[in-house]
């Protein structure tokens, strides 16, 4: 495929779409351009939905290969993924997603497994906190003391033990944490603006895939 199709047309399209959506945000333009901008934004959502569908096809293709090859220790899980991927769409089209069967299956399988997996994390986290939070040096001491204070601020019992815990915890969250985050976010935003301009002017080619 020529460079024109692989590089220049996608770059020109990206730049055109980017410019239209940005300038219509900052300036007033005739209605036809404003409408074009709105339509482009809506297409973004449609394209994402299409990409999700495409991703599902690739996922199924990859796992179907494993099942066909009977990959040792893997194919059975791939089979579960394939069956699971089809259950809910089939039920959606046959019964609808507000039907009792759909809701029951969703709640008894997806909900419980999801909540269970996340619930197990508390045990892993507790063990990890017990082993990792040790006074090794000054930095770890700061981290440990801040962690204990914020935990006692979040848990209502902290205020019962000492009324200063909620005040200290709020101070840690409001001043150092928020200040630090603001700095990181503003810096990241500048980086994002720079990346946006590079993409619009064709200097950034990573999103096209392949070599830079």
């Amino acid at each position: 495929m020529s460079q024109t199709f692989r590089r220049y047309i996608p770059m020109a399209l990206s730049a055109a779409v980017g410019f239209i959506t940005i300038i219509t945000y900052f300036f007033y333009f005739p209605l036809v351009i404003q409408n074009a901008s709105s339509a482009l934004v809506s297409w973004g959502s449609i394209l994402t939905a299409f990409a999700q569908g495409l991703g599902t096809i690739f996922l199924l293709r990859s796992h179907a290969r494993r099942v066909i090859r009977r990959d040792q220790g893997e194919w059975i899980y791939s089979l579960v993924i394939i069956i699971s991927t089809f259950i809910f769409p089939v039920l959606f089209f046959t019964h609808g997603d507000t039907s009792t069967l759909y809701k029951t299956l969703y709640q008894t399988i997806n909900n419980n497994i999801g909540a269970g997996v996340w619930g197990i994390l508390i045990f892993a986290l507790t063990g990890a906190v017990y082993r990792a939070f040790r006074l090794q040096n000054l930095n770890s001491t700061f981290l440990l003391v801040s962690c204990l204070i914020v935990m006692l601020q979040i848990a209502p019992v902290g205020g019962v033990i000492w009324s200063g815990f909620p005040i200290l915890g709020n101070w840690i969250m409001d001043i150092p944490t928020t200040g630090g985050y603001r700095g990181i976010m503003v810096t990241a935003a500048f980086g994002l603006i720079a990346l946006g301009f590079r993409t619009l002017f064709g200097y950034e080619k990573g999103y096209l895939g392949g070599e830079e």
Binding site: Y25, S38, A39, V41, S42, G44, S45, I46, L47, T48, A49, Q52, D97, T98, K103, Y106, Q107, N110, N111, N112, I113, G114, A115, V117, W118, G119, I122, F123, T126, G127, V129, Y130, R131, F133, R134, L135, L144, C147, L148, M151, L152, I154, A155, P156, V157, G158, G159, V160, P166, N170, M173, D174, T177, T178, Y181, R182, M185
Partner: protein
């Protein structure tokens, strides 16, 4: 193995067993530890409480199996509060799991308060595209949602006949928070159109949301604790308040573990130093 080594190596089964007890016993025998209401939660409550009757709220219900334990109680308490205040709610979901939770959580509350689907609330379902989807909804709801989750064309829903885009929306709420949608709502709803934003994030995203409070985010109902505070403010005790005693005791156990581990570490260092 000496006592100092034992303090640094408490067996995992014992840690987990006591953790299970600290979580489960308070649920069976509540202690009733008093809860202080955080200013961020109070602010969220006041924003909703001060909205005029009939105001339209756009609620991104991004609750899923991984987040429901943290934000589910706050979601329900806020929906209850908004219905009580006779606000109109449009439910959308930036996450694929959200619609199922809307269908499970909202109709029972609506039924109890005599709210009618299509008039007092509508459920439009999942939208793809995250930030682009949010922008598209705020520009023109029908561009993303030609129909609701029940396949009813939105022009046939009484509420949606009056709501076309951001101009009719007074407040947006985002609940969930393992993705970037939290910031997307701030950027697209508040920065672009000046719509008030309230967030209901999971615990790890609270500090991520706080830099925007109070100027761009009017209120934050953070995690289970925020849910308990909101239940307290709406005078409707529920699962979050019930979970607060468990949270307190399990945190006390985790803090005890940290302290014990460090006592063991410091003491063994001191004994090694003196020998």
């Amino acid at each position: 193995m000496g006592i100092l080594d034992k303090l640094q190596n408490i067996p995992v089964p014992i840690i987990n067993l006591i953790l299970i007890l600290t979580i489960s016993v308070p649920l069976i025998y509540p202690i009733g530890i008093p809860i202080l209401v955080d200013p961020m939660t109070r602010s969220a409550y006041e924003v909703i409480d001060n909205l005029p009757e009939g105001s339209v709220v756009l609620f991104d219900y991004d609750t899923g199996p991984s987040t429901v334990v943290e934000v589910g109680a706050a979601d329900k308490a806020m929906v209850y509060h908004m219905f009580k205040k006779n606000l109109k709610i449009i439910f959308v979901s930036s996450g694929v799991n959200g619609p199922m939770y809307v269908e499970t959580d909202v109709p029972p509350i609506a039924k109890r308060l005599g709210k009618q689907y299509g008039v007092d609330y509508v459920h439009l379902g999942y939208f793809a595209g995250l930030e682009m989807g949010i922008t598209a909804i705020l520009n023109d709801i029908s561009s993303i949602y030609p129909s609701d989750v029940h396949n009813t064309p939105i022009e046939k829903l009484e509420l949606m006949q009056a709501v076309k885009n951001h101009e009719q929306i007074s407040l947006t709420i985002y609940s969930g928070g393992l993705g970037d949608q939290l910031l997307s709502w701030i950027r697209q709803a508040n920065t672009a159109y000046g719509i008030t934003v309230v967030l209901v994030p999971v615990g790890v995203m609270i500090s991520y949301s706080m830099p925007y409070y109070p100027n761009q985010v009017a209120g934050i109902v953070g995690s289970l604790r925020g849910g308990a505070e909101y239940e307290l403010l709406t005078n409707r005790p529920g699962e979050a308040i019930a979970g607060m005693d468990s949270l307190s005791l399990s945190f006390i156990w985790i803090i005890t573990l940290i302290v014990l581990g460090n006592i063991g570490l410091i003491s063994s260092r001191m004994s090694r130093g003196s020998s």
